[in-house]
C-alpha cells in the first residue's frame, strides 16, 4: 500500500540577508513584532507571498495585492521574498527529510513530499510518524501542515486545503476526505478552476459526480496559452507544481484511480573515499603509496561524471586520535593521478605521522566539467605543461605566489594590464595592444616622486634626484602626453607628460610631469619616476 506524507511549510522565512540578521540581532526583526508580509513581483504587480501570524489575524494571506494590504493596514512591514533561496532551502529540507524515507522530493514552491511506503513500522505507525515530523520541524522554527494519504495527489490536496493540521487518511476514507475540498486542490490551473466555479462545481465531490465523458470534453488537455498578464498568484504557484487543465486526469489521480509519478531527489554520490589501513603507516612515502589507488578510484568516479577536480581535500587520521588535513587547489580541472600525487608529495613533506596514520580520506571538494578532448592523430600533446607548473608552484610557494598578466583596456600605462591569480583568459579582441615602441621594460607599480631641475614653465628635465642619487640628463625624448581617464577618474586628476631621458652614464629612465602650468587643476607640479628602460 502506498502511503504519502505531505508537509507544508508556512513561508515565514525571510530573504537570506534578513536570515543573516537574525543570527546577529535576534530581537530586532520586523516579523517578530507586528504584522509582516513577504512579497513577490508578478505580472499583476506585487502580491503577498507569505505572512506571519499577526498579519494573518488581520485577514491577510497569500495572493492578495500588496498595495491593498498597505492601504488597509498602515503598520504592516513588507519585504521582498527570495524565491531562489526558498527553493534551495526547501530542497535542503527535503534532503534532510530522507531520515524517514529514501524517497523525498520538493513539491511545488511550498512543500515537500515523502513516499513513506514500507517505512512506517520503523517509526511506530503513521500517526506516530506524523507526530515526529511535526515535532522536529516545529523545533526548526517551521509551521507545518501534514497529511498522509494513499497517494501523492490526495496528500497534496489534504495538506494544503484539509481542515486539520495533521491528517491521516486511509484508502477507505479517501473519497470522503476529499469530498469537501475546493477544486483548486486538484493541482489544476486557474482557468479550469474559474470554469468549474462558473459551472457551480466548487468542491471535488461535486466535480466527481459529473459524468466522465462530459468532463473529458470540457476540460481536455488544451494547449491554449493565456496571456501571462492574466496570471494570478495561484498560477505563479501552479506553474511550479505542474498544474494542468486536465481535470479528469487530476481527479483520477487524487481518487487513486490513476498512478501519480513520483520522482524523488537524486542522492549525490559523495566524491569521497575513506579507507582504513591494515596497519598504521609511519612513512610519508608509504602514505603516498596508499593514496595512489584511492586517488585512482576517485579519478575514475570523476571520469564517469565527465568532471575534473579543482580542489582536493586530504584527511589523515592518526592512531592517537589526531587528524591532519590539507587541501590542494588546482589551477584547472584535472583527472591526472600523477599530477596530483606530485603535488601531494610536496604538500606532505613536513607532515608528522607520530604513531602513524590508520585511516586516509580523499574528497573532491570542488569539481568542474572536464570533457574528454580530442588529441591529434599523432597523439602529440603540447610540450610545455603550464597548468601543471602553476599547480606545483602554488602548492609550494602559496596560492598568491603565481601571477598571470591580464591585458586591460586602458591607455594609462599602469592600468593597461593587471596581475591576476586566475588562468589567462582568451584575449578579448577589442583590446588592442599598443604598438608604441618606447614603453619601459620595467614599470613601477607606484611611481616614485623625484626632484627635477627643469626650464620653466614646463621644459624638459635637465637634472633629477631619484633614490638619493643625482642624475644629469643628457638626452630627452618627449613629451608624450597621457591624459587621465575622465570618464572614470575625478576631475582633479591631471594629465601626465612622459619623457624618456638618458643620463650621462647611459641609463635610460621613463619619468613624467604631473600636470602643466595652466591646466587649472593645481599649482604645484610634481615629477615622478615611472619605469626603467634596459
Amino acid at each position: 500500500m502506498e502511503t504519502w506524507v505531505r508537509a507544508q511549510k508556512r513561508r515565514l522565512k525571510p530573504a537570506p540577508s534578513s536570515i543573516c540578521d537574525t543570527t546577529t540581532k535576534p530581537d530586532a526583526q520586523p516579523w517578530d513584532s507586528g504584522p509582516f508580509a513577504l512579497l513577490v513581483t508578478t505580472a499583476r504587480g506585487d502580491l503577498i507571498h507569505g505572512v506571519n501570524g499577526e498579519a494573518a489575524k488581520l485577514g491577510l494571506g497569500s495572493g492578495q495585492r500588496a498595495v491593498d494590504a498597505a492601504a488597509a493596514h498602515d503598520n504592516i512591514a513588507m519585504a521582498y521574498a527570495d524565491p531562489a533561496y526558498e527553493a534551495a532551502a526547501l530542497e535542503r529540507l527535503a534532503a534532510w527529510s530522507r531520515r524517514w524515507t529514501p524517497h523525498a522530493k520538493v513539491d511545488g514552491v511550498d512543500g515537500i513530499a515523502l513516499d513513506v511506503t514500507g517505512c512506517l513500522h520503523l517509526f511506530g505507525g503513521d500517526a506516530a510518524l506524523l507526530d515526529t515530523i511535526s515535532q522536529r520541524m516545529t523545533a526548526m522554527g517551521l509551521t507545518v501542515r501534514l497529511a498522509m494519504a494513499p497517494n501523492h495527489a490526495a496528500a497534496h490536496a489534504l495538506a494544503r486545503y484539509g481542515i486539520e493540521d495533521k491528517l491521516v487518511i486511509g484508502r477507505d476514507d479517501l473519497e470522503a476526505a476529499l469530498q469537501d475540498l475546493p477544486v483548486v486542490a486538484l493541482r489544476i490551473n486557474d482557468a479550469s478552476v474559474t470554469l468549474l466555479r462558473r459551472l457551480g462545481l466548487k468542491t471535488i465531490g461535486q466535480a466527481a459526480k459529473i459524468p466522465r465523458a462530459a468532463l473529458k470534453k470540457r476540460f481536455g488537455a488544451k494547449t491554449k496559452r493565456r496571456d501571462p498578464r492574466d496570471d494570478t498568484y495561484d498560477d505563479y504557484l501552479g506553474r511550479a507544481t505542474g498544474a494542468s487543465d486536465d481535470v479528469l486526469a487530476r481527479l483520477d489521480e487524487a481518487l487513486g484511480r490513476a498512478p501519480v509519478p513520483f520522482d524523488p531527489l537524486k542522492e549525490e554520490e559523495p566524491l569521497r573515499i575513506l579507507e582504513g589501513l591494515v596497519e598504521p603507516v609511519l612513512e610519508i612515502q608509504a602514505v603516498l603509496a596508499c593514496l595512489r589507488p584511492m586517488i585512482d578510484r576517485l579519478m575514475a568516479m570523476l571520469k564517469k561524471r565527465e568532471e575534473g577536480v579543482l580542489s582536493l581535500a586530504l584527511e589523515a587520521f592518526r592512531v592517537d586520535g589526531g587528524r591532519s588535513s590539507t587541501t590542494l587547489r588546482l589551477s584547472r580541472a584535472t583527472r591526472e593521478t600523477d599530477h596530483i600525487m606530485r603535488l601531494l608529495l610536496d604538500r606532505l613533506d613536513g607532515w608528522q605521522s607520530d604513531f602513524g596514520f590508520d585511516a586516509l580520506a580523499v574528497e573532491a571538494v570542488e569539481k568542474a566539467a572536464l570533457k574528454p578532448t580530442q588529441t591529434d592523430h599523432m597523439q602529440q600533446q603540447s610540450k610545455a605543461d603550464v597548468h601543471g607548473l602553476i599547480d606545483r608552484l602554488r602548492t609550494r610557494l602559496g596560492a598568491d605566489a603565481v601571477l598571470l598578466p591580464h591585458l586591460y583596456n586602458s591607455h594609462i600605462p599602469e592600468r593597461a594590464f593587471v596581475w591576476g591569480a586566475q588562468a589567462l583568459p582568451k584575449r578579448p579582441t577589442e583590446i588592442t595592444v599598443p604598438t608604441i615602441p618606447d614603453r619601459p621594460d620595467r614599470l613601477f607599480e607606484n611611481p616614485e616622486e623625484i626632484g627635477v631641475l627643469h626650464a620653466l614653465p614646463e621644459g624638459p628635465p635637465a637634472r633629477f634626484t631619484w633614490r638619493h642619487t643625482l642624475h644629469d640628463v643628457e638626452r630627452v625624448a618627449g613629451p608624450e602626453r597621457i591624459g587621465p581617464e575622465w570618464w572614470r577618474e575625478k576631475s582633479t586628476v591631471r594629465s601626465r607628460d612622459y619623457y624618456c631621458v638618458e643620463t650621462r652614464e647611459g641609463r635610460r629612465f621613463w619619468i613624467y610631469r604631473e600636470g602643466f602650468s595652466d591646466d587649472e587643476r593645481g599649482v604645484a607640479i610634481r615629477w615622478f619616476m615611472h619605469g626603467l628602460f634596459s
Binding site: 610540450k383 610545455a384 605543461d385 603550464v386 601543471g388 607548473l389 602553476i390 606545483r392 608552484l393 609550494r396 610557494l397 605566489a401 603565481v402 601571477l403 598571470l404 598578466p405 596581475w419 604598438t435 608604441i436 615602441p437 618606447d438 643628457e474 638626452r475 630627452v476 625624448a477 624618456c500 631621458v501 638618458e502 650621462r504 652614464e505 647611459g506 641609463r507 635610460r508 628602460f533 634596459s534
Partner: protein, 170 residues
C-alpha cells in the same frame, strides 16, 4: 607568468620546475646567497639542456660574485651604454646600446662588445629580440668621465643560444 618567491632557494626551485615543464625561464636573484652555488646552477644548466629551453639567471646587486662558482655555460655582464645618435632628433636618445662582457663561455673566448637593439626606436620596426654589433669607431664620443657603471651589472647565464652567439661572435 610571474612567480614571486621569498628566498633564493625557492627561486632556484621555481626556475628548475619551470625548466622541467619545458618553458623558457628568466630568474632574478639579488646579491650572492649561499644556495646559489655551482651545484644549483649546474642543475639548471643540465635540466635546460635536457628539455632544450632557455634558462637565464639575472643577478642583480652591487657586486655580483664573478668567481668560478657557477655551472652556467655562458656568463655575461651587461651594462647600459650611451645610446646611438637619433637620426631625427639630436636631443633624443636613439637606439639603446649595451656594453656586454662575456666573462666565460665553453666554446669561445671571452671578450667585450657594444651592442644595440635591432628594433627601431622611432618606428617600432624590426625584431625586438635581435641585437646588432656596434663598431667601435662609431662609438667614439665617450667623455673622459664616462665610466661603465658596474653597479647595474648583471651576469647572464645562457644556454646554448643563437641570439647570444650572434651577439658574441658577431
Amino acid at each position: 607568468m610571474l612567480a614571486r618567491v621569498r628566498n633564493a632557494r625557492d627561486a632556484l626551485w621555481a626556475m628548475e620546475e619551470g625548466v622541467k615543464a619545458g618553458l623558457d625561464v628568466v630568474g632574478e636573484i639579488t646579491g650572492t646567497p649561499k644556495v646559489l652555488d655551482f651545484t644549483a646552477t649546474r642543475r639548471l644548466e643540465l635540466f635546460s639542456q635536457a628539455t632544450g629551453v632557455h634558462c637565464i639567471l639575472v643577478r642583480m646587486g652591487p657586486q655580483p660574485d664573478t668567481g668560478g662558482s657557477s655551472g652556467a655555460r655562458w656568463r655575461w655582464r651587461m651594462a647600459t651604454a650611451k645610446s646611438a645618435n637619433n637620426p631625427y632628433n639630436p636631443m633624443a636618445p636613439g637606439q639603446p646600446r649595451w656594453r656586454v662582457d662575456l666573462l666565460r663561455a665553453r666554446t669561445c673566448a671571452p671578450g667585450q662588445w657594444v651592442v644595440e637593439s635591432a628594433r627601431d626606436v622611432s618606428h617600432g620596426e624590426g625584431a625586438a629580440d635581435r641585437l646588432r654589433m656596434v663598431s667601435k669607431l662609431v662609438d667614439g664620443d665617450m667623455g673622459a668621465g664616462a665610466k661603465a657603471p658596474v653597479e647595474t651589472g648583471a651576469i647572464i647565464h645562457l644556454r646554448h643560444d643563437d641570439q647570444a652567439r650572434r651577439a658574441a661572435v658577431g
